[in-house]
């Protein structure tokens, strides 16, 4: 059966206050409350609430009321009633739902068999989606029509691809975001929003509807993207890092109060993305603090945070740093890292992931004079202590550093030398620099600069470069693998295109080492051709060795706020410990029009997702034993293994049989797999392990196979053909992501 599943989402409704006064209010608290939205039955009605709105879910209508504040003379409800969904003449769903129910913070309206409407109650607003379990009947575009009743006025500028505004009194209103279709493989397509004064039409192109396919592809995302800081819409330029001892991530970002007052804020987040404590004031004085960066000093159980600071937005710029207790969020006093008469800008931080090593490292650019790196001691609650500083290069700009030095203890810094290309240097915890100025790639221009992460002996450098012959500054994403033997660099795979779609802007990449894969994220223009500040964040996992794709590209933003960028990756691995294939992605999400209200959003990702898993088909016979999977049956999981447990004592050998689904033979009541491959595996104390590292061959994804353990030398077996062989249950596995 060809099963199809279209998840059509991302029609977001959000309240928005336009006035600068509201955004600039220095007294406005930083709301980073992921739980600041909810959905519950209250007084007999299903009601939703977010920081800037309330909603009510009735059987025939959904009402969304933005909180416009005291400046508004009255409330302005925004009421939507489902009219129909159709393809051509085929009506797919009617206005009367068969059921309305709530699951967690989502309200579901069952519109037709296999077709349901969902409203996610999110911090920033409601997110409307339609799910189709089977291919919709009919031909042509898939169109959902909703009737609209509101006194809000539709703004004259409506963009079918990116959304529309309904506003009132010049103080605010409701934003309706763009429409996106996503199938189960993660394939995405931009739909159209037809906004009118009295209706909305959501349109998905027929080509996508016709070709959307199932295999079972489980998205490696865990959780949805969420807002770290966003109530005042003046947050941006984030970074994130992980510290293993306290199992916390720290997000940092710059918060704009005014043109002359920009501070650094932070927020601790646990491994699941729950906020820990309140927002942190890391730097807030009369100066301007920009470009915050963070890394973990594992030995100090603290984060090191650095930024550039000047008396005004014009500078002169110095590099400052503070440390943050990874458990409590206590912020140390700030210390000066670099404050010469030159302008020191664009800091980037690294940490020592090894236990007992309290070091943080900060690299930066001296305007016109090259790249420096400093070592700071993050021990204790006092201000970080500057240990030493070295020069890595007398030329170059836009430096980037690995989040840690890995177990090998070598940190890698890359930078751009205009008209020359990207260069690299490595240093150890004592700031001994075995090699500097290693040529990574020769390029005339690296407009977005480079990013780097790695293990201390292997690094991946990513960057953006101009598309050939582009006249409008379109960029592509490339990568280069570096190998470092403790003394010298050599180039591995690459340069390789990570994302180089012709006529589409891909830019400002970040990279993280996620144990099994490299994760690369970048700003991805929503539309080809001349961009219109409509960007999502795209993520792609890469093979550790070849830099080839190890999964499918997917998008972590695209929530309707539309201008997403400035992405950073904080990999758990960099924060210490022996495992960790997870990472937090931090990004800035903003409006496409001035004043470009922005917020900091986050996404938890992992290199190896839930995988495809295995289902049991039965058929166990003889002396029982258990067949299981060690690790996720997921692409790129190099630690994956098949395991056997509970085999009869005395059994010393088992055969692992692998074959096609449904290819069995009966034997005395047993269902034995006809093996295409069988591997003898020694059994010790009733257990056997067959490691099968899963590579990054994309053709494996969705592949189904049957497997079974045959324990040899059991005391009994109903299979007369193999009287000393017992069989575990037959299982069918699917490789997923």
């Amino acid at each position: 059966m060809q099963n199809r599943h279209i998840f059509w989402s991302s029609l977001a409704l959000s309240g928005l206050v336009f006035t600068a006064a509201a955004q600039d209010s220095p007294a406005a608290p930083i709301s980073v409350m992921r739980g600041a939205s909810g959905l519950a039955q209250v007084d007999g009605a299903l009601r939703g609430v977010g920081p800037d709105y309330r909603a009510q879910f009735d059987r025939d209508a959904v009402s969304y009321t933005p909180a416009l504040g005291s400046a508004a003379s009255r409330t302005y409800p925004f009421e939507l009633r489902f009219a129909h969904a159709r393809r051509g003449k085929a009506i797919l769903a009617s206005a009367v739902p068969t059921d309305v129910h709530r699951v967690d913070r989502t309200a579901y309206y069952d519109r037709a068999p296999g077709a349901r409407e969902r409203w996610d109650v999110r911090t920033e607003g409601l997110e409307l989606g339609y799910e189709f379990a089977t291919p919709p009947a009919g031909t042509g575009d898939l169109v959902v029509r909703l009737r609209l009743q509101t006194d809000l006025v539709l703004a004259s500028r409506v963009d079918e691809t990116t959304g529309a505004f309904y506003h009132a009194e010049g103080i605010g209103g409701v934003r309706v975001g763009g429409v996106t279709g996503i199938d189960a493989r993660g394939r995405r397509v931009a739909g159209a929003l037809r906004a009118h004064a009295d209706s909305l039409e959501l349109v998905l192109p027929s080509a996508f509807v016709d070709t959307a396919t199932y295999p079972l592809l489980l998205d490696p995302l865990i959780g949805t993207d969420w807002v770290v800081a966003g109530t005042s819409f003046d947050e941006g330029n984030p970074d994130v890092a992980y510290e293993v001892t306290d199992d916390h991530y720290l997000f940092v970002w710059q918060h704009h109060f005014s043109s002359s007052d920009v501070s650094v804020r932070g927020q601790l987040v646990d491994e699941l993305g729950n906020l820990v404590g309140g927002p942190l004031v890391i730097r807030d004085n009369t100066n301007v603090a920009l470009e915050p960066t963070v890394a973990a000093a594992n030995g100090a159980d603290r984060f090191i945070v650095a930024w550039q600071e000047g008396a005004s937005i014009f500078g002169p710029w110095d590099i400052m740093a503070a440390s943050v207790d990874a458990a409590t969020g206590a912020v140390s006093p700030a210390a000066t890292v670099a404050a010469t008469s030159a302008n020191e800008v664009r800091p980037d931080a690294s940490g020592d992931r090894r236990g007992g090593q309290p070091w943080g490292f900060v690299t930066w650019e001296v305007d016109g004079a090259g790249i420096r790196v400093a070592k700071v001691d993050a021990t204790g609650p006092g201000a970080p202590i500057l240990d030493s500083t070295v020069s890595l290069s007398s030329a170059g700009q836009k430096p980037a550093i690995t989040k840690s030095g890995g177990e090998a203890g070598f940190h890698c810094v890359v930078w751009d030398v205009p008209l020359v290309g990207i260069r690299a240097a490595a240093f150890d915890r004592d700031l001994v620099v075995p090699q500097t100025d290693h040529p990574v790639v020769t390029l005339a221009s690296v407009p977005g600069g480079a990013a780097v992460d790695g293990t201390g002996s292997e690094f991946l450098v990513v960057w953006d470069q101009l598309e050939p012959s582009t006249t409008i500054g379109l960029r592509d994403i490339y990568c280069q693998k570096l190998l470092f033997d403790g003394a010298t660099f050599s180039n591995g795979a690459g340069p390789t295109a990570v994302s180089a779609e012709q006529n589409r802007d891909e830019r400002d990449p970040a990279v993280g080492f996620l144990q099994f894969k490299w994760a690369v994220a970048w700003g991805d223009a929503q539309a080809p051709g001349d961009p219109s500040l409509a960007y999502d964040i795209a993520v792609l996992m890469l093979d550790l060795t070849t830099c080839a794709p190890c999964g499918y590209e997917w998008t972590v933003a695209g929530t309707g706020l539309l201008f997403d960028g400035n992405v950073e990756i904080g990999a758990a691995r960099a924060g210490g410990g022996s495992g960790g294939d997870k990472a937090m992605i931090a990004l800035m999400s903003g409006e496409r029009a001035p004043p470009f209200n922005t917020e900091v959003r986050a996404q938890l990702i992992e290199a190896v997702g839930a995988g495809g898993g295995a289902t049991t088909q039965g058929g166990e016979c003889g002396v029982p034993a258990a067949s299981s999977l060690n690790g996720k049956l997921a692409l790129g999981n190099s630690s994956f293994a098949f395991t056997l447990n509970g085999a009869e004592p005395g059994v010393t050998t088992a055969l692992f049989a692998l074959g096609a689904e449904g290819s069995t033979f009966p034997c005395g009541g047993c269902q034995a797999l006809i093996p295409m491959v069988s591997v003898p595996v020694p059994v010790t104390n009733g257990s056997a392990v067959l490691p099968v590292p899963l590579g990054c061959n994309l053709s494996l994804v969705g592949g189904r196979f049957a497997f079974q353990w045959w324990t040899v030398g059991t005391s009994a077996s109903p299979c007369s053909l193999l009287p000393t062989v017992s069989f575990t249950d037959l299982r069918v596995g699917t490789v997923g992501l």
Binding site: G236, E291, A311, I313, F563
Partner: protein, 734 residues
């Protein structure tokens, strides 16, 4: 017997560089004066000018006729009559035996003019320091006795024999010196000859017979070099200068006075670094007539300078090609009985058109007249028919016009003048008026700049085609002779054809009981330079320039000395250019004309002014989708009035200012946004006004460490259709 003749005259060097522009310690601003370099010409020049073969050194002109040479010392305009000294060869003989000589054939190469006479040549070398005359014999003259060369000298100057030669007194101001004769032959042997002079005007130069008899060929009668020294003669005045904004090459023009009724128009190119390019050349010489008050502009389309001057109270013009220096034929702009005076000219640097616009006062009718002068391919000039741009008024006369040096690339000029009201002689009330005109001299908007009962005179103006700064002098008390220099800034909206006075009647220099006047203006983009002279004593004016914000007339870089001390300076001329390279800081050539009664004349002086007014580099053109044009003027440390502006954006539309230390290019529907949106401060600045203007005041701290710091800024307007952008600016604080 032999008698060589040598006439040598002193010269005055045109010195570009001159003294370092001094810095007013009170200004506290960054240094702006370029290192001064003085350039003295090492050669004279010979040039065909309007059909005449002329030569010149530093302080003389020589005209080469068919058989006579006229040497004219430049005595300045305080002398009422010119003093030519004319030599005509009459005979060459040995003991009465005349050498046959053919009719002279004249030729010239470089700075040498040669009259061939068959068996010998009469040779003139035009040198910077004088004219060197030689007689070169290709065979030993037949006969016996001394070799004698005789000539007739015509001059009103009285000649007398002196110990070292012959001296002609020029009205007590100086003298023409003919030094003793020297002969030398092909083997380098030399002999001293003698010289004689008769009251009838005959000069005789003689070489002794024994030397002539034994001489090897060629035999030359050669003079020793001497100088005609003129002390304290102010012979070069009225400088003006214009610049090719692309290459930075400038053309300086000035008047060289031989007497009050005999003056030529001279020129010299100046490189972007302030060095002289080539030598001084004639733009116009009437050889005895009066050409004066030159002005010059640059026209981009045919890369030509256009010079105009006053000749016989009419306006004349010539083109000077920017690279080669080739002169176009003479063009007469006016030919009437009216009296034209106080000329000025501005050029089109947009490349769209090939016109210059000349203005002057018609003293006969009391009006301002103007004309387009078309620069044709190949260099010829085609003046249009002049027309009055100010009406004849019963209550006033219009005079002293000035026009912006360029159209700013926008195709518009501002012409300003002094409107003097009749019947107000006691109070001498006069105002400043003007017209905004387009490149075709269509009158766009009448402008009133200074009103009231004050005596406002002698305006000058420069701008960028949409914004202009006007400076003028105002008499503080009627009849006191105590003037101040004032400044006004105005901005013009082409869409509505209206203007706004952005800053009005700001005093630039206004010391009490101290006469400041002769204002000149140069628009440097991020600042405006105002030149003026400032009274020290009754006969001694010093010269200064002041760097001001072009939108407020408030102090930008400060005040700089041009000339202080004994010399008396009458004129300061300024021309701005952008250094010749994209992104290089703007510069200006400053010229002035010092006169020092206690020392030899220094001629026209010059220097390069390097603006340190906050380098502001335009990136990616002009307005996009109604985003307007951005300005970030006078980005200097400690400028508490530092303001970032946008002009001519979509009117009444919310404007936002981006400021970031970094660039990170984004595109939005064909418009580029350069400041990094991830780090940018976004300033909501409310709606633009009815002209589409907005401004944001953001004081720059007085921190020396900010010098050299850069930031990116750009305006964004939220129009109904989309967002529009101004051009992006990368501003470097200086």
């Amino acid at each position: 017997m032999s008698s060589p003749l040598f006439v040598s005259l002193g010269l005055t060097a045109f010195a570009v560089g001159g003294p370092l522009l001094g810095q007013d310690p009170s200004a506290g601003s960054g240094a702006s004066g370029a290192a001064a370099v003085s350039f003295a010409p090492t050669t004279g020049a010979v040039q065909l000018v309007d059909g005449q073969l002329l030569g010149h050194g530093a302080d003389y002109r020589v005209a080469f006729g068919d058989d006579q040479v006229e040497f004219t010392p430049a005595l300045g305009r305080q002398v009422s009559r010119t003093s030519p000294w004319t030599f005509t060869l009459t005979t060459v003989d040995r003991d009465g035996a005349h050498l046959g000589r053919d009719r002279a054939t004249r030729s010239h190469q470089d700075n040498i003019v040669r009259y061939g006479h068959g068996t010998f040549d009469e040779v003139y070398e035009v040198r910077a320091d004088g004219l060197k005359q030689s007689f070169v014999f290709h065979r030993v003259p037949a006969g016996h006795g001394d070799l004698v060369v005789r000539g007739r000298v015509t001059t009103h100057m009285r000649g007398e024999l002196v110990r070292d030669g012959l001296k002609f007194d020029a009205d007590g101001i100086g003298h023409v010196q003919v030094d003793p004769v020297v002969g030398f032959d092909g083997d380098g042997r030399t002999v001293r000859g003698s010289i004689a002079w008769s009251a009838t005007g005959e000069i005789e130069m003689r070489l002794p017979a024994p030397f002539v008899d034994r001489a090897t060929l060629p035999l030359t009668l050669d003079p020793l070099i001497s100088f005609f020294a003129v002390s304290s003669v102010q012979d070069e005045e009225d400088p003006d200068v214009a610049s090719n904004p692309t290459t930075g090459r400038s053309l300086a023009v000035w008047t060289r006075y031989y007497a009050s009724n005999d003056a030529d128009i001279m020129g010299n190119f100046i490189g972007a670094d302030g060095s002289l390019v080539g030598g001084t050349f004639f733009i116009r010489s009437t050889v005895g007539g009066l050409a004066f008050d030159p002005h010059v502009c640059f026209v981009e389309q045919n890369t030509s300078f256009v010079a105009i001057w006053n000749e016989n109270l009419d306006v004349w013009a010539k083109g000077v090609e920017s690279s080669s220096g080739a002169l176009t034929p003479l063009a007469q702009v006016t030919n009437n009985t009216a009296v034209e005076f106080n000329l000025d000219i501005g050029g089109d640097i947009s490349g769209v058109d090939n016109d210059a616009i000349a203005v002057w006062g018609n003293a006969t009718q009391g009006v301002i007249e103007a004309v387009q002068i078309q620069v044709n391919p190949g260099g010829t000039l085609s003046p249009f028919i002049p027309a009055a741009i100010s009406p004849t008024g019963a209550q006033w006369i219009d005079l002293d016009p000035a026009i912006s040096k360029t159209d700013g690339g926008a195709g518009r000029h501002l012409i300003v003048w002094d409107r003097r009201f009749r019947g107000s002689a006691a109070s001498e009330e006069s105002d400043i008026r003007g017209w905004v005109v387009d490149r075709n001299l269509n009158l766009l908007e009448f402008v009133v700049i200074a009103t009231g009962t004050d005596d406002d005179d002698n305006p000058d103006v420069d701008g960028d085609g949409a914004n202009w700064v006007v400076a003028w002098e105002r008499e503080t008390d009627a009849g006191s002779g105590d003037n101040d220099v004032l400044c006004a800034a105005l901005t013009y909206d082409g869409a509505t054809s209206s203007y706004v006075i952005a800053a009005g009647e700001v005093v630039v220099e206004g010391d009490r009981n101290d006469d400041e006047r002769k204002a000149s203006v140069a628009w440097l983009g991020n600042s405006v330079l105002i030149g003026f002279v400032d009274e020290v004593s009754g006969s001694n004016d010093d010269a200064f320039v002041k760097s001001l914000d072009p939108f407020t007339c408030t102090l930008c870089e400060g005040e700089f000395n041009i000339e202080i001390g004994n010399p008396d300076t009458d004129t300061v001329a300024i021309s701005a250019f952008m250094g010749g390279l994209f992104g290089t800081p703007p510069k200006a050539i400053v010229l002035w004309d010092p006169e020092d009664p206690s020392s030899p004349d220094r001629g026209i002086q010059g220097s390069v002014f390097d603006a340190a007014d906050g380098r502001s580099t335009d990136f990616y053109g002009g307005p996009c989708l109604g985003g307007g044009t951005a300005f970030a003027t006078c980005a200097v440390t400690g400028n508490a009035s530092f303001t970032i502006r946008v002009q001519r954006a979509e009117p009444s539309t919310n404007a936002f200012l981006l400021i970031s230390p970094f660039a990170n290019e984004f595109w939005n529907r064909g418009c580029r946004i350069m400041p990094d949106l991830f780090t940018s401060v976004v300033v909501p600045n409310g709606p633009t006004n009815s002209m589409g203007d907005s401004r944001f005041l953001i004081p720059l701290p007085a921190t020396s460490s900010l010098v050299g710091a850069s930031f990116w800024t750009q305006w964004i307007v939220d129009t109904a259709a989309d967002i529009g952008t101004s051009q992006a600016l990368k501003v470097t604080i200086e």
